[in-house]
Symmetry: C2
């Protein structure tokens, strides 16, 4: 039992300044992507998420100006993510472990908490499927694709995917297990053939770390909650706060809540 | 083969003035609830839907002022629903088979198309489960409940449910089959005990028609897309257009798209 075996312990560590990718932490509890935007952009983003539910399954939306979410009532959204990114006009201007100053500089941020594929890694591991980035102790590899999201208002951009190498004889099972969790990205969007997604080299991910691919393994791609950050780059809203890829917000909500 | 066996044929009949409840029509194609609100209310409604996904699963949102939806590209949302309701300040002021004049009186209506439980009636019937309101040729019974929705912005109100009598030995199967379709309300929210939902008399539904309950049957309740109309009554936005309960918008989208 370490501080990172419960969401409350992990959040306390992050609030105290610990920085690390969160895959494998607090198994059984839902992890979330974060994007906070000015209220003026909230409808555009919520519509973007509705139109792109595979990369952007919305689990909660905060009240304008609030730092609280029903998914973890005692959490402070400004400080409890291990690493944040601050964005101005579509450019990432700062990475910080404490977003309080940036958050408080805005009068009416609306935060969106978006399901994360780390959630279904727990049932995949329970089924005996190795999650390579957990085994290697690094961040999950993520890639920009050539698949445009359906635009909404002022927001558009490409879909981002996460990738896990899966032995060929376990790929179908990985698809079925993750498919039971549509609220946290669900089944893979693409299996094999990275070049068909516009991914030239699996060893050079756009976000996170490269992982080892072994003979007999297939690259399996799931829609990824970093997609909103690609939309920020493409659409350039004046201000945003997000998590840093792989450094998620840990909620008190059990994973089984998202199982169909 | 009648005009009502395809969504295109049924919409043409409705556009020509035919008025009827749509349960059982165009089997295999998704039916939708409709609510159109001024752009100023669109974020509140989309957030209300996100916070209440069982009664309000959003399948499409139109561009402000548009009468088109991706779910049925050649449809005219102002005329292709068999019966509309026009609302002012939370009061239903008109029922009409053609909402063109009301729609065109507003500069920027945003229409929300919401999944309907008629969609999973097809797989229920394929499993040999009788749908009583289809057998009786009437509208499905719907009830206001004592369960408040989670509010969002200026919108709040109680959950509305639809009810189908199911033989006790088929209730579990009905729950499992409908549960595969979370995008169109999914599994029942309540099985048996109508009084616990605040329903005093099943023979007096708040919307639609009463149906026969036979010995050995259990009343099974699903979250209903008339819930937005209860929110209109409770929250009083200045203007809205909805379908009349049970008189749905028929899309060209196959039901299996919503199956998990």
């Amino acid at each position: 039992m370490t501080a990172f075996s419960t969401p409350q312990g992990a959040r306390a560590a992050f609030r105290a300044g610990h920085v690390a990718p969160t895959a494998g932490m607090a198994p059984g509890f839902t992890q979330c992507n974060l994007i906070a935007l000015p209220r003026d952009w909230a409808f555009d983003f919520l519509l973007f998420a509705q139109r792109n539910p595979r990369p952007c399954p919305v689990l909660d939306v905060t009240e304008p100006g609030s730092i609280r979410t029903v998914l973890a009532p005692d959490a402070d959204l400004r400080r409890d993510v291990p690493l944040y990114r601050i964005w101005r006009d579509g450019v990432m201007v700062e990475e910080t472990a404490d977003a309080s100053a940036a958050w408080d500089s805005q009068p009416d941020l609306v935060a969106f908490l978006i399901g994360c594929s780390f959630t279904f890694e727990t049932p995949l591991r329970q089924a005996g499927i190795e999650i390579r980035h957990i085994a290697q102790g690094c961040n999950v590899p993520m890639y920009l694709t050539n698949r445009p999201c359906r635009p909404a208002g002022r927001l558009q951009g490409p879909m981002v995917v996460s990738m896990r190498p899966i032995p060929a004889d376990r790929v179908a099972e990985a698809a079925v297990i993750s498919g039971r969790y549509p609220g946290v990205h669900g089944a893979p969007v693409h299996i094999g053939c990275p070049e068909a997604l516009g991914i030239a080299d699996l060893a050079r991910p756009d976000f996170g770390d490269a992982v080892e691919m072994r003979p007999g393994e297939v690259p399996v791609f799931w829609a990824c909650g970093v997609t909103p950050q690609a939309a920020l780059m493409a659409s350039r809203p004046p201000f945003a706060i997000t998590h840093a890829p792989g450094h998620m917000f840990l909620t008190d909500t059990p994973d089984h809540q998202w199982q169909v």
